[in-house]
């Protein structure tokens, strides 16, 4: 069935992004919002808006019943969950479908399977993907954990089966650490995720975070090349690129093909991301997890392939076959995304909600700014600090970086501190220019290079 109306079950910049895609397809949009979000941009852009509850996420955006009731009341054909909130909640996907509407994403069963990190590891191995050395499945006891660690060595990660997105992870440096952390990690996982199941993965030191964008319609499966997301702080991505420009061609081919193999193995439907660690010194890559949603950093893939991933998701959910074949997907040039957060990078990334007094979005060739900001908008304190994404494309990575520097200088957000100064420093950094970084680079660089630069700026001011 063709989707004629969509409930946007999210907020912030991704809600704006979904509404834009829906409008391009001639689809009516209904935006849900909490009491704290009545004046957000997506509410203004949507055809209709519904207040679903108080500011606390669990009383609004995480409240399955309230969201499904809003969708029913609005009489929409489909629900787009965005990222975060209920986007990877299998019960929510099931509830939407049970209420006679389309969930824009994979079926609940696929979300459940891939959301269980142990089950996902098993299915990935079955599809022939290399996995990080570790336990074969869930570990029942500390004795089992000891046996696995004896084979893989230390340091080792204790991960929650129901975790993901960097949550529910502890690192054990040695056996004593493992003995101490294992029971605590289980209790914590049970409290956080309602599932105390644990598994072990060896820590791959000096790894890059590389991920492959996949699309499937249940019968046809393609990749849209890879993204490089190694620049992270506290396991949260800060800066993303496409492609991962230092990846050797043969590795890229095997990596992307492995993601398609996994999509085929589970009969994937919708847009998804297969995440890997890549060890540059050995040329080996290892599967980590699958995200069954649209990702924050999807625009860099759109910039190099010309594919509108959100529109494609909506078409697939409406029952259309993939509109593109693998042979049609080409990678052109280079794109970088900077996550602009309402945080003060020189004050330990202290979050800073507040009112935007002035906003100037940069213009220019290859520049895109996805945001929910407007002048006079007050960012509420109850949600994520992401306020915009500056995405820049260039024919080469060098051109891209040069354009990015100009775009960052042209981006003006006044009224609150933002992470723009951090991105300006990264965009002019020699190691970043060479691509000489791994997942541990940014935190160290913040303490040394950035602290020195920020200190110097503070003295001048």
């Amino acid at each position: 069935m063709t989707i004629r109306s969509i409930l946007v079950a999210n907020r912030g910049e991704i809600a704006v992004r979904i509404i834009k895609a829906a409008k391009a397809l001639g689809i009516r949009t209904v935006q849900i919002h909490s009491a704290a979000d009545a004046d957000m941009l997506a509410v203004k852009l949507a055809d209709e808006a519904i207040d679903i509850g108080s500011p606390a996420p669990k009383k609004s955006y995480l409240n399955v019943e309230a969201v499904v009731n809003a969708a029913r009341a609005a009489g929409v054909d489909a629900v787009h969950p965005g990222y975060g909130f209920l986007s990877e909640n299998a019960d929510f996907a099931d509830a939407v479908e049970a209420a006679g509407m389309i969930f824009i994403g994979p079926k609940g069963d696929a979300i459940r399977l891939l959301g269980d990190k142990v089950a996902a590891r098993e299915v990935a191995a079955k599809a022939g993907l290399p996995t990080v050395p570790g336990s074969a499945g869930r570990l029942a006891t500390i004795e089992d954990a000891r046996a696995v660690a004896a084979k893989t060595g230390f340091p080792i990660m204790i991960k929650a089966a129901a975790g993901g997105g960097g949550r529910g992870i502890r690192i054990a440096a040695d056996l004593a650490d493992l003995e101490r952390h294992f029971p605590q990690a289980s209790t914590e996982a049970l409290a956080s995720f309602g599932d105390g199941g644990l598994y072990l993965e060896k820590v791959v030191t000096k790894a890059r975070h590389v991920e492959v964008q996949i699309l499937g319609d249940g019968e046809n499966f393609i990749h849209c090349f890879e993204r490089e997301c190694s620049l992270q702080r506290r396991r949260q991505k800060v800066w993303e690129e496409a492609p991962s420009f230092l990846l050797p061609g043969d590795v890229r081919t095997r990596l992307c093909e492995s993601a398609v193999a996994l999509a085929r193995e589970v009969g994937y439907r919708g847009a998804g991301t297969v995440e890997y660690l890549y060890d540059e010194s050995t040329g080996e890559f290892y599967f980590i997890e699958v995200n069954t949603r649209i990702q924050v950093e999807h625009p860099v893939t759109e910039m190099i392939t010309g594919i509108d991933l959100v529109e494609e998701m909506i078409r697939i959910a409406g029952g259309a076959p993939l509109s593109i074949r693998q042979a049609d997907v080409t990678s052109n040039g280079h794109a970088i995304e900077c996550r602009i957060n309402a945080e003060d990078p020189v004050k330990g990334f202290m979050p800073a909600p507040g009112t935007i007094s002035r906003l100037v979005a940069p213009q220019g060739e290859g520049v895109r700014f996805d945001t929910m900001l407007y002048e006079g908008y007050t960012i509420p304190p109850f949600y994520d600090s992401l306020i915009g994404k500056l995405i820049v494309w260039g024919a080469t990575r060098e051109t891209c970086l040069a354009r990015l520097r100009t775009a960052l200088e042209g981006l003006v957000i006044e009224g609150i501190p933002t992470t723009i100064p951090l991105h300006l420093a990264l965009a002019t950094d020699a190691s970043v220019a060479r691509g000489a970084f791994d997942t541990r680079f940014l935190e160290q660089w913040l303490e040394t290079e950035f602290a020195a630069k920020a200190g110097a700026t503070a003295e001048v001011a």
């Binding site: 500011p55 606390a56 945080e343 979050p351 909600p353 304190p381 109850f382 949600y383 994520d384 600090s385």
Partner: protein
Amino acid sequence: MSKIEIRSPLPGTFYRASSPDVPPFKADGDSVTNGDAIGLIEVMKTFQEVAAGVEGRNITFLVENEEPVMAGQVIAEVEA
């Protein structure tokens, strides 16, 4: 007897305890000193401790656990 107000330094969500399964930092009627934590403010998914910043007796909370607060809003009062 004069009342002293304790205000929230930040906008966000107020919590009386560091996690749902531990007792609150301060029970109603407790005494506080300057450095005592009286709660947490969750702002954009990060947690900041709220210190009393005053000395006093018989604390009364004016904001419920898990309720939204504005910067500068009075969270609690103590007697000098």
